[in-house]
């Protein structure tokens, strides 16, 4: 019989896949809307679920492209994190939780979160500059999750120590 933790991990695995596919679908939808908006400026008013970037489109097409690319990259990067999460959960064995693959994936996740934070900072500063230049009301993305990257990295280091303890335990006769 599966334990409560194993059931929870199975649910998390499924959720991570759903999130990954969902974020990729959003990135795809924004890309298609953007391609349509190249020829039809009206499409920029509703790129995805009311995302109105028409003000940027009117002012400068290059800046509009940058903003859209930021949003697409952010969604893809988040989908990548969710994908790494699915791989981590598939490799996680609750009876032998500490293994090299899990540590490597945790480190990758922390680096990916750091990248997302960097892109967010770039996006925020770009949007702030455009607000100053053209007076377009900026919508910022919070970059507070930088702490998350740190926490995941620290957890990865703790897992490394866990591997040592586990191998010591296994090699105790």
């Amino acid at each position: 019989m599966k334990s409560k933790a194993e059931n929870l991990l199975t649910v998390m695995h499924t959720l991570a896949w759903i999130v990954c596919i969902g974020l990729l679908a959003i990135a795809g939808a924004i890309t298609i809307s953007y391609i349509v908006s190249i020829g039809n400026a009206q499409a920029a008013k509703d790129l995805y679920k009311g995302m109105d970037l028409s003000a940027y489109r009117q002012q400068s097409f290059v800046n509009y492209t940058f903003i859209v690319v930021y949003k697409i990259i952010l969604n893809i990067a988040q989908a990548y994190i969710a994908f790494l999460m699915t791989r981590l959960l598939s490799k996680l064995n609750i009876s032998r939780p500490f293994n090299v693959d899990v540590v490597k994936l945790m480190q990758k996740i922390s680096y990916a979160i750091l990248c997302v934070w960097l892109i967010t900072m770039l996006y925020d500063s770009h949007v702030a500059i455009l607000e100053k230049m053209y007076g377009i009301a900026a919508t910022y993305i919070s970059g507070d999750f930088i702490f998350l990257a740190g926490i995941v990295y620290v957890l990865a280091q703790m897992f490394k120590r866990g591997i040592e303890i586990q191998s010591e335990n296994e090699l105790t006769v």
Partner: protein, 67 residues
Amino acid sequence: MPIIVNLDVMMAKRKMSLNELSEKVDLTLANLSILKTGKAKAVRFSTLEAICKALNCQPGDILEFVE
């Protein structure tokens, strides 16, 4: 590692096979093999006691410190 396991030497002296020792000390062959090949990172006192009893020797006959 500076600690050398001389289990194979003692087994040869007592003319005891790994299978026989494994049955006497109630350890799996795999674990005994880990100990014999020096891959073990730790030995329980209970294991050491059982091995010493089975081979009629002292812990110092099995473990040796080399600089």
